[in-house]
Amino acid sequence: MTRHFDTKSLPGFGFITLLCFLMLYLPIAVLVVFAFNAGTSIAIWQGFSLRWFVSAAQNDQVIEASIRSLQIAVVAAGLATVSATLAALATTRTKGYRGMKTKVLLFTVPLMVPEIVTAVALLIVVARLKVWTGYTGLGYLILSHAAFCVPFAYMPIRARLAGMDSTLEAAAMDLYASRWQCFRHITLPLLTPGIIAGFMLAFVISLDDVVITEFVKSAGQDTLPTYMLGQLRRNITPEINAISTAFLALSVVLIVVFYLVSNRKKT
């Protein structure tokens, strides 16, 4: 195909590509390597050891923060996925109505709002609520996470719904299915990969969040990322690398599952 412009033929293409990959992955590679350092430095290699993984696993604060992170992520991603599924159905499976496009926009725009703005806004609201209600539990963090995860869950679910052959639902109705039966036996099973993908995305986004959590959390509500941020302000040991590496491993597993699910044959 000679008539197509081929970027690969540009001078320096290989070099720039290599540079990009190095910038993306070299720091992570270094971080992972020093997680296995036997010494206390994160920059000077002193031999291989798993001591920092052991140390992290025995650190009560790390364990507590990890459990809290998982609790928040599971519940928030669950709430976000249910909301996003309903939203996706309401914006694809109805006859076009006034304001539908606006609604689609309102669901996706939060992706582009600077996170710090959302964080400050939530801080103000939550601070007020804490005073009024006296409740200071994890609920605020869960609801906040659920809120900013909705657009992430919404996108793959909506894409799946929009790509689904709508004559399948017509066929189900033609074959005496009620609206509910049609949803239960046709739409939902075909939508499941999209829902799983949406949940995983929301889960990872919640698990990883620092900015909003930092603003909204009450005292003693550190999640794993905010705990790590706190540790960086003090003395840095390869324990941080070990936690990051474990975190990375979890993310990789989730991404692989996400990839497998979203690429499962649609027909």
């Binding site: 004559t167 017509a170 189900a172 109705m173 074959l175 005496y176 099973p189």
Partner: protein, 365 residues
């Protein structure tokens, strides 16, 4: 059989009266009155955009008519939802459920109606046998060929024993050979089940082969309803004559007043005999329709239609001669090929043409 609650006189008769459908300012169907008899293979035939699919969607319940009534066995169903009508559809793309097995697809309607498992299983087996897919119930839809998927779609729509089966160009995705087989197959299924089939197609050959009766549509209006023989041999107007098969159209004026056999003077002064189904006054301008197979080549002679051969197309069973008559009008002559290898006139030759007067018809204008 399966649905014993259905009284025997309810044989799937459909009456459309004053049906119309508009989408905003666009009128898809103007005004249609049509009777579809019980247990017949009825075809809605027309070019794309003629309104046949809209009509089918209204029968299925996916569209609500803007005007008029749809009576099924005498009951108005025009405003019922698709799941409230004893009418099932075979979709153009089959719309088989990809996450269900062949058997689950076929049993879907019965399951939705809450039939017991034993009855569903029995019906699925019967349906698999009916469409000659015995033993394939456990397979996935994606494991089947296009022709097999087509059969599953048929079985799925027939399983609940609807009063009427709608078929939306179901053969268009199949290759030529499979298509011919399925045409015969569909006809057999219709006879065996005794269910009214309403078949939508733009393929006139398909329509002629399978139908008991055909309705020809164009621009959202009915042009003619009749048996394939009537539609082919007695087209009422220029559109039908032109759309169904190949037709030569010739303009002329009535020489002598009369009905039945009428003398018509064509452009260019030649007089031919044609069939009229109504009295026509002398001097009246008329259009004649004659099929290529009802014409023949002859030696050129005075007082006879004459023309020059522009093109000769060989079709195996026959040969088509494309002529330009002396009056400038194009005409196609079809000649059956014979084994004796008789000498044929070459391209460019001047030839005479005779028209079979019994097959030369004056169209309604």
């Amino acid at each position: 059989m399966l649905d014993t609650t259905r009284p025997s006189e309810d044989d799937g008769t459909i009456t459309l009266s004053g049906i119309g459908k508009s989408f905003g300012s666009f009128t898809a169907i103007e005004h249609i009155d049509l009777d579809i008899r019980g247990n017949e293979f009825f075809t809605l035939l027309g070019p794309s955009g003629c309104g046949k699919t809209t009509l089918l969607r209204m029968l299925a319940g996916f569209e609500t008519p803007s005007r008029g009534e749809i009576l099924l066995n005498g009951r108005d169903i025009a405003r019922l939802a698709p799941n409230q009508r004893p009418i099932n559809t075979v979709f153009q793309n089959y719309a088989l459920f990809p996450h269900l097995s062949v058997a689950e697809n076929i049993g879907f309607a019965l399951k939705m109606r809450g039939k017991p498992r034993s009855e569903i299983e029995r019906t699925v087996e019967e349906m698999l046998a009916l469409v000659q897919l015995d033993g394939r119930g456990g397979q996935l839809i994606t494991q089947l060929s296009g022709g097999q998927q087509q059969r599953v779609a048929l079985a799925r729509a027939l399983a609940p024993r609807p009063a009427v089966l709608l078929l939306d160009e179901p053969l268009s995705a199949l290759d030529q050979k499979l298509r011919k087989n399925m045409q015969i197959e569909l006809k057999r299924l219709q006879k065996e089940t005794g269910i009214t089939f309403v078949f939508v197609t733009h393929d006139q050959e398909e329509a002629l082969t399978m139908s008991d009766r055909i309705a020809v549509l164009s621009n959202g209006a009915l042009r003619q309803v009749g048996t394939p023989h009537e539609i082919y041999n007695h087209p009422v107007d220029r559109f039908v004559a032109d759309f169904i098969g190949e037709t030569n159209l010739l303009e002329g004026r009535v020489v002598h007043e009369g009905a039945g056999r009428v003398e018509v003077a064509l452009e260019g002064g030649v007089t031919v005999t044609a069939q009229a189904d109504r009295p026509l006054a002398a001097g009246r301008a008329v259009t004649l329709a004659v099929r290529p197979e009802n014409t023949a080549l002859a030696d050129p002679a005075p007082g006879q239609l004459c023309g020059k051969i522009d093109q000769i197309v060989y079709f195996g069973t026959d040969t088509h001669f494309h002529l330009t008559l002396d009056s400038g009008v194009p005409l196609v002559v079809r000649r059956q090929n014979r084994a004796d290898g008789q000498m044929l006139p070459p391209v460019g030759a001047r030839v005479g043409v005779t028209l079979e007067s019994e097959a030369t018809r004056i169209l309604k204008d």
